[in-house]
């Protein structure tokens, strides 16, 4: 039983085939990267896996469970969480509040409990705040906890998005362009976070354009072009693959 398996995933948007028979297996506890030129369909694959877009064909299996076409919130409950390329932070909430929203199974999110269980709620919220705070601390954002998300620097916002996904305690994290637009230092921080996740037994799939970063942190690389997988393997091998080089440079 593979930890995470994509089989023949296909997506048509009207006349356009964005993803074409994409198959791939992801090993537990490793970092797998999905790379490819712009428009290759990487983010679409993420959307298909995480339940935001329905596939035209194909299957997605996570821990031996068919999650194809499942609603995003149910997929998160099963242990798979994602970030967005455009972050989608809750800008008018603080960093801490953003992370707290990632916490799962909060009793205070049930209506009756929210209205009537005031005393119990206070203790629960204190616990939630502590857990969220710990995650922020781990990512070096504890100083920004009370800041509105929209006031954070870009690099901090990217980390916050990852923090929020980490709060779901998902075992498998899909990170969409975690390093994009970051300076050297910020990028190192992000890569460090990813390594830290793996050290703790989590699995990461990431999409990014930063070749150096991707090759540095990945255990396995999958290359996509025009919706189709054209190469797959260890970073060194993929970097030297003829087809990959052609696709990236020959345009």
């Amino acid at each position: 039983m593979a930890y995470f398996e994509i089989e023949g995933l296909t997506k048509d948007f009207g006349g356009l085939r964005a993803v074409d028979g994409f198959s791939c297996t992801v090993e537990r506890g490793k970092v797998t990267s999905l790379i490819g030129p712009n428009g290759a369909g990487k983010t679409t694959v993420f959307n298909l896996i995480s339940g935001f877009v329905r596939p035209t064909a194909g299957r997605v299996r996570y821990r031996d469970r068919d999650i194809t076409g499942m609603e995003p919130d149910r997929i998160v409950a099963l242990g798979l969480a994602r970030t967005f390329q455009d972050l989608r932070l809750f800008h008018r909430m603080t960093a801490l509040e953003n992370v707290m929203l990632g916490l799962q199974k909060q009793p205070g999110e049930r209506l009756a409990h929210a209205v009537f269980a005031r005393a119990v709620l206070r203790a629960e919220r204190a616990g939630a705040r502590a857990r969220a705070g710990a995650i922020l601390e781990e990512l070096g954002l504890e100083a920004q906890a009370g800041e509105l998300a929209q006031n954070l620097a870009y690099g901090e916002q990217k980390l916050l998005a990852i923090a929020r996904a980490m709060a779901t305690e998902a075992d498998l994290l899909l990170l969409d362009e975690p390093a994009a637009g970051l300076g050297r230092e910020a990028m190192e921080t992000v890569l460090g976070v990813i390594r830290g996740l793996v050290r703790r037994g989590r699995t990461v799939i990431l999409v990014d354009h930063h070749m150096e970063a991707v090759m540095d942190v990945s255990d396995r690389v999958v290359v996509l072009d025009a919706g189709r997988k054209i190469a797959e393997g260890e970073p060194d091998a993929v970097q030297r693959d003829e087809e990959v080089v052609r696709v990236y440079l020959g345009l």
Binding site: F52, E71, L89, H91, E109, L111, A165
Partner: protein, 289 residues
């Protein structure tokens, strides 16, 4: 003096309507102009049950709230996929359909003639006959509605509503069952509107379909916006300001035929002025703790 009491009662009534609509519009971003329709459900249920079945006011009101909750639950489902402008039109639709039913089912509702002679609320032998006791009841009910709305607003449930308002996809990506949250808040909001309607029936003794038409819905929306979206106290403030302010017109010896339109012009102008200069409303939204 009676007149002042009546105005205060009215303000408390609209406070109930405003805080409940704020849950939908302010917290969750569901701009509904159907609130008066749900108010009507509560009013008619109360009137009919107290008059035809001899039920106690509070029991009838509870049943009215239950009916409104069921209707809301049924109506919520199809509109969940709908956003923004489409949602407003859909809510307009509920409003029109509810009023159509009230107008066109004379056997049940007496159609356009309305129902008169609705008894005042009573409890364990005591009847809330005078304005003083009605005001006390009004304040209690408004306090109750305000408290429920406030608890929701400051709770984690409320935080999820705000997240949904800002970015539904992001909320989904954090495992929130957006559908459940929207349906639940819609049901609570509409049930509270029905409570307001029930009380309205008990106070005014006469109800007819035009009392609950689209203009009422827009008025309640204006209360929420001017009072401050997402701020429960703001809704209460908005209700009192917008009910009391036009009453001062009465002292300007304005003929009664133009009093109503003038009052409406006032809140139409206030809407425009606030959107231009103070879009957050009188009391801004404060984050949950």
């Amino acid at each position: 003096m009676d007149y002042v009491l009546f105005v205060l009662i009215l303000a408390s009534l609209y406070a109930i309507l405003a805080v409940s609509l704020n849950l939908l519009v302010g917290l969750t971003g569901l701009v509904s102009i159907a609130h008066a329709g749900f108010m009507a459900i509560g009013a008619y249920a109360t009137a009919l049950l107290t008059m035809k079945a001899g039920a106690n006011f509070f029991v009838a009101a509870a049943v009215g709230m239950g009916i409104a909750a069921c209707v809301a639950a049924v109506l919520a489902v199809p509109t969940l996929k709908v956003t923004g402008d489409h949602y407003i039109i859909a809510s307009f639709g509920f409003q029109v359909i509810i009023i159509s039913v009230l107008l066109n089912w004379p056997a049940l509702t007496n159609g356009p003639f309305g129902i008169s002679g609705i008894p005042r609320p009573s409890l364990l032998g005591f009847t809330f006959a005078g304005y003083r006791s009605l005001l006390a009841l009004a304040v209690v009910l408004a306090g109750l509605a305000g408290w429920v709305a406030w608890r929701i607003a400051v709770s984690p449930f409320g935080a999820v509503l705000r997240a949904i308002r800002e970015d539904e996809a992001a909320a989904r990506s954090l495992g929130k069952d957006v559908t459940r949250f929207k349906v639940q808040v819609f049901v609570v909001g509409c049930a509270l509107a029905a409570l307001g309607g029930a009380f309205y029936a008990g106070v005014t003794s006469f109800i007819d379909p035009p009392s609950f038409d689209i203009h009422e819905s827009i008025f309640i929306l204006a209360l929420v916006i001017i009072g401050g979206k997402g701020n429960i106290l703001g809704s209460i403030l908005g209700a009192f300001v917008l009910i009391l302010l036009p009453e001062t017109l009465k002292f300007l010896a304005v003929p009664s035929s133009i009093a109503d339109p003038l009052r409406r012009i006032l809140y139409g102008v206030l809407l425009m002025v606030f959107m231009r200069f103070l879009p957050a409303g009188l009391l801004r939204e404060r984050p949950a703790r």
